[in-house]
Symmetry: C2
Subunit: 713 residues, 2 copies
């Protein structure tokens, strides 16, 4: 790809971003869009509604930047929780890494690369300069200048490791500080017990009571059984639908809509008063739910939430094998009550096992099938191949602008469309693996998505252009560095356009919230405003973290191969920093608090990126006929792995649980807390299944927010 | 190899075993050999010494067989501990497996194999029949008879899995029963704490006291610091040497030996009264030891044994991360006091880390270098190759007996000699890995030895004859079954002779105890009987378990390939059962009690053998042109792995620790035990380093068993 094609792509995307920002700064001031651009503020009632029309509402402004920039980390922590802080720290961390790389790369390496003469360059025609002349490929083979690259690799690794250590240490101490400063929370005192053995004399609930009050008489507080509630959940969701219909019928004035048929698809049967019909149906449903709720005997799942009087008590039950039979009385950490994912709770061991197998198979299949669009996209950057495939396009492709758009912009756009479909699929896959908490599902989906992204974006693109057909060679471990060294630098231009088209516009559209905007618009046009309580979204970590980490991977691997990519990454991270801060403060509201346990994913991914970078360096110094540098790079991955294993020992345990020291100190400080008795009482019902809470629909048919309130209270 | 060569080998070894048994039954009746053949009974004073000479002493008898057979498992448990019972169960388990295989193999498969016609057989000359005619190689390609083999593989796998389950379940309940019935033991109440942080205000000991009495005021009992005692240990060992010299001088009557020179190698310096000289030296050493023992301040290692008032207390400290910094206050299970391996205790983190790396490298090097003798040995079974290597031997090799000895007996003997050197090396390697207990060292050496044996005996021999040079193909996972199916059946005859030469004679020489017999004989001739307390040996699990498991592997993999091997294995296991029972009751005394934690090694190794057998079956049915049977075998390893993963969940946790239920019940039953206060007092000094116990040498120079008693008390 030549420079002008890149500039076209940058131009298009820069324009797109500007349009997004401008539109955003105008649209966000329209009162109707408050639900889209500040749902959290609306829900919290913090947004002053300005319905009066004035000119200022139509002018673009940048005040949101200031408001995103100003709040301190403490403020962010108050609003977005430790997970939000960790998320922003991830962006800041990447920014620092890319910043350091940019200093090294743009000041030292880029001029060196450009001064080389390996690739014939026509200096007079700067616009048509191949981007390769800025990459390491242009440095002459065996040149002493490569030692600068070698030094840069070492210095960069040292810097990133130092940064990783500082961040890990800082976040783990933040996690502990957060624990120390937290109010007593149900999940700190509770464990989830599974595999409760059936006994001939006691019910499951009786067994739990007996076991824990016998063995932990001074620590055991109470327990709450889990029930099969799939049927009740179904009834409640039906009732909610009927509620919504009633509300719609009440809000409409047309009589024609009030009467209709209730047979198949509303086409058959006699015409009836729909409002009356649905109200009757709702009452029936409600009775049914109440009956089901009272008929729970025998519907117990062999699982219970067992609460203890102290945090240490819960930790003892959690960490020590309880029963003589290790498949009984299995304990696991209880999630926060709001975080529990109820549907898969009652799943049997077998169905969870099958679920796991299905998920693994599906993931593999998804990864393989995803190769198809990637290969097609990849072929677009090689115009010649496209011409051989579709000969009738030759004339069209000869137009300079068309060919520039196709090579510079289209591939990434198509890839992006496909990629948008993946995160929901991954989340869905994780949810049928049998996790009992949304946070666990999110974390698992995040990991799946991360490896999917790295494999399908990075490797598939890097290797497809050159050696995909030689994928068998990957099995030859000694050859990997050489294969990577041949393939990766060749795809530098593709990844530069990827950063521009995906990174920049992703960030901008995150601010713009295209989809919620459209759906809000449709709702306002086709449905009357019904005063429905708006649902505040939570940030989708499982799709955001992997994409941010992928750009980090690109920065780390390409910083010495093709330093040109760094300035685009810098722009991306600056934008992401502002935009995500803004969104965390105004749009998203946390649905769970994991205490920063997403950080180990970031750490591992960064270490992986470093190792990949080292491997490519070993290969490229070999290819560039500097075998000494190649050999001297080999200790680097070993040192990095040692560093990583130290970090795992030093920091990871804190992210898996809390140390006894903290728990005991926290328990002691609670001893004098008069609110603890109240808390213990609340604890007894904290883990009640929402499907078993008392409901009330028909009594208040004046609005359908009643059931929502009732079942969420 | 032909049948007659095998019979020669069997004949030689059968004769050898008979000689061993006869000699043993005579020698063991000689009073002078009591230290060799019943050291345990001698040490326990249970052996009635019969010094009167009678004819019966010179006649071989089989009374020892009866005495080895009679005791029940309870009696064995009382004398050899649970580890001894598990060891005998391993032999019994193997016997059952091989017995079932023999029923299948010898009754159903062997006739089928012999009836085949794949290999041309001259029926008239039975003695020269190739052993291959009894193996699966002789079954005609594509024959329907192979379905019998297929059925046998399934039936055998089902039987072995059933047996594995029953044994695992039985041993794990035995382990719990042993725990319930045990007296309070120091290791149940104690944890080893490492990584004690240095503090500016407190000593290390003070830090431990402060930490545990602050966080576990009701549970903490006491602690015992670990000190750097390398120097003291050196001094004590010097003193013991001097003691031994004094005892020798006193026992000798010759004056010429009492006076001598004390310079370099006893060659220089003036002549002195040696007894006086050494007594003076001993006093000096004793003073030095006492001085060093009193100067321990500042020699603390950041490690301590921390004892708790209850078992649950120790488990809490063990299982929950203690300090905020996960690299501090690391807890691990404390071994029994007698089981502690003190030398490597004071090793720093770095030296342990380097030790680990060195051990890994050495293990790899040892495995690679061991190929050399194995390949040489292997070439002996191929006479033609030997003739090309050493042409001058052609004439000698033409003598039938010589060639039969060389192909039938010599290879295994040479291999055996080399193999005898390996277990001590493996134990030594494990001991520098930084384990703090002899039992841990033994277990680690057992694992090392197991994989070494499987790789170097099974794979190296199976593959060297055919495809060692194609070892790269192993990297192609799809090819493994075919490679194994080609190579493994071809080496059946080698392994049959291996069972006979190694298995039979190993077992017989275990009973005969050649080396201790010789050393005892030398001692009695060259040194007068000094009344020295005899040291009762402990059974070397690390060399015995892997060799027994290797024979199990041979039985499992060859049972349908070459069923002839099974009858030799049956003989081996019957012998081993009697002999090891006898040795456990009379010779060996347990040096530690791990509560049967060697069993998981047996389980894993057996599952591995099954998987290997399945892989070979997949390959061989393919080679024999029965692709359907080959495909239908593929589910078998998958089912086996699922079975194994279930067993890991169901039983393994019990072998890693004890469940809370057991500990709490045991603690409760102790509450009314008046002896517990005494026990708690003893606990305070249970973990004292033997080097720090008061010593007394010079006060009682009348015999040198005093220091042994003093330092072992």
């Amino acid at each position: 790809m030549i420079l002008s094609a890149l500039l076209t792509s940058v131009g298009i995307n820069f324009g797109l971003c500007l349009v997004y920002f401008t539109l955003y700064s105008i649209l966000r001031k329209q009162p109707g869009n408050a639900d889209v651009y500040a749902p959290r503020l609306v829900a919290e009632g913090k947004l002053e509604q300005r319905n009066s029309f004035n000119l200022e509402r139509l002018l673009p402004s940048t005040s949101w930047v200031k408001r995103a920039w100003q709040p301190s980390e403490e403020e962010l922590f108050m609003r977005a929780g430790l997970d939000g802080v960790v998320f922003i720290r991830l962006i800041l961390f990447s920014l620092k890494v890319v910043g350091f790389a940019a200093v090294l790369g743009l000041c030292a390496l880029l001029p060196l690369n450009y001064m080389g003469s390996q690739i014939a360059i026509d200096i007079s025609d700067f616009a048509n300069t191949s981007l390769e002349s800025f990459s390491i490929s242009n440095v002459n083979d065996g040149s002493k200048k490569l030692w600068v690259h070698f030094g840069a690799v070492y210095a960069f690794t040292a810097f990133v490791c130092y940064l990783l250590y500082v961040e890990y240490s800082d976040i783990s101490s933040k996690r502990l500080a957060h624990y120390y400063s937290s109010e007593p929370k149900p999940d700190q005192f509770t464990v989830l017990v599974r595999g409760i053995p059936t006994s001939s004399t006691d019910s499951l609930s009786g067994s739990v009571e007996k076991f824990f009050s016998e063995f932990y008489p001074s620590l055991y507080l109470s327990h709450y059984m889990v029930y099969h509630t799939t049927k009740i959940r179904k009834l409640i969701s039906d009732a909610e639908k009927v509620c919504r219909k009633i509300a719609f019928l009440k809000s409409t004035e047309k009589d024609s809509q009030r009467f209709g048929r209730v047979g198949f698809c509303g086409l058959f049967g006699a015409k009836v008063d729909l409002l009356e019909y649905y109200e009757k149906k709702l009452e029936d449903l409600e009775d049914n739910v109440k009956m089901q709720q009272s008929l729970l005997t025998g519907k117990e799942v062999p699982a219970a939430f067992v609460s203890f009087k102290s945090r240490l008590g819960a930790a003892i039950a959690l960490q020590i094998q309880q029963g003589e039979n290790p498949t009984e009385w299995l304990t696991e950490r209880a999630p926060e009550p709001r975080d529990i994912y109820w549907p898969f709770f009652s799943a049997s061991f077998l169905s969870r096992w099958i679920g796991n197998v299905v998920v693994v198979v599906t993931c593999v299949v998804l990864t393989i099938l995803f190769f198809i669009p990637v290969i097609i996209v990849q072929s677009l950057t090689h115009l010649e191949q496209l011409e051989t495939w579709f000969p009738f396009l030759i004339n069209v492709l000869k137009i300079a602008f068309v060919s520039q758009v196709i090579t510079g912009y289209l591939p990434s756009l198509i890839l992006k469309m496909f990629l948008h479909l993946v995160p929901p699929v991954m989340t869905m896959l994780s949810s049928i693996q049998g996790y009992v908490a949304n946070s666990q599902i999110e974390k698992s989906a995040c990991n799946k998505m991360l490896w999917f992204t790295i494999w399908n974006i990075f490797f598939a693109n890097a290797l497809s252009g050159s050696v995909l057909y030689r994928v068998n060679l990957i099995l030859e471990p000694k050859e990997i560095p050489t294969i990577l060294a041949v393939a990766v630098p060749g795809q530098a231009t593709f990844f530069i356009t990827y950063v521009v088209t995906n990174g920049w516009t992703n960030a901008a559209s995150e601010l713009f919230r295209t989809m919620p905007l459209i759906s809000n618009f449709m709702k306002r046009i086709f449905f009357k405003e019904t005063g429905e309580q708006i649902e505040v979204p939570s940030i989708p970590y499982s799709s955001e973290i992997p994409s941010i980490l992928l750009f980090g991977l690109l920065g780390i691997t390409y910083f010495y191969l093709s330093p040109l990519i760094l300035r685009f990454l810098l722009v991306y991270y600056c934008m992401a920093y502002l935009i995500y801060r803004h969104q965390l403060l105004n749009v998203y509201s946390p649905k769970f608090e994991t205490g920063g346990t997403f950080w180990p994913i970031v750490h591992n991914s960064t270490v992986f990126s470093l190792l990949l970078m080292h491997m490519i360096a070993v290969g490229i110094f070999g290819l560039k006929k500097l075998p000494l540098a190649s050999s001297l790079t080999i200790p680097l991955p070993i040192i990095t792995l040692l560093f990583n294993s130290y970090c795992r020992k030093r920091f990871l345990p804190v992210f898996k649980g809390y140390p006894a020291e903290c728990m005991i100190k926290k328990d002691r400080s609670d001893e004098n807390n008069p609110a603890l008795t109240d808390f213990h009482e609340k604890l007894m019902t904290a883990y009640q299944d929402p499907a078993l809470k008392p409901i009330q629909f028909s009594g208040r048919t004046d609005g359908h927010n009643a059931p929502l309130l009732a079942s969420q209270a």
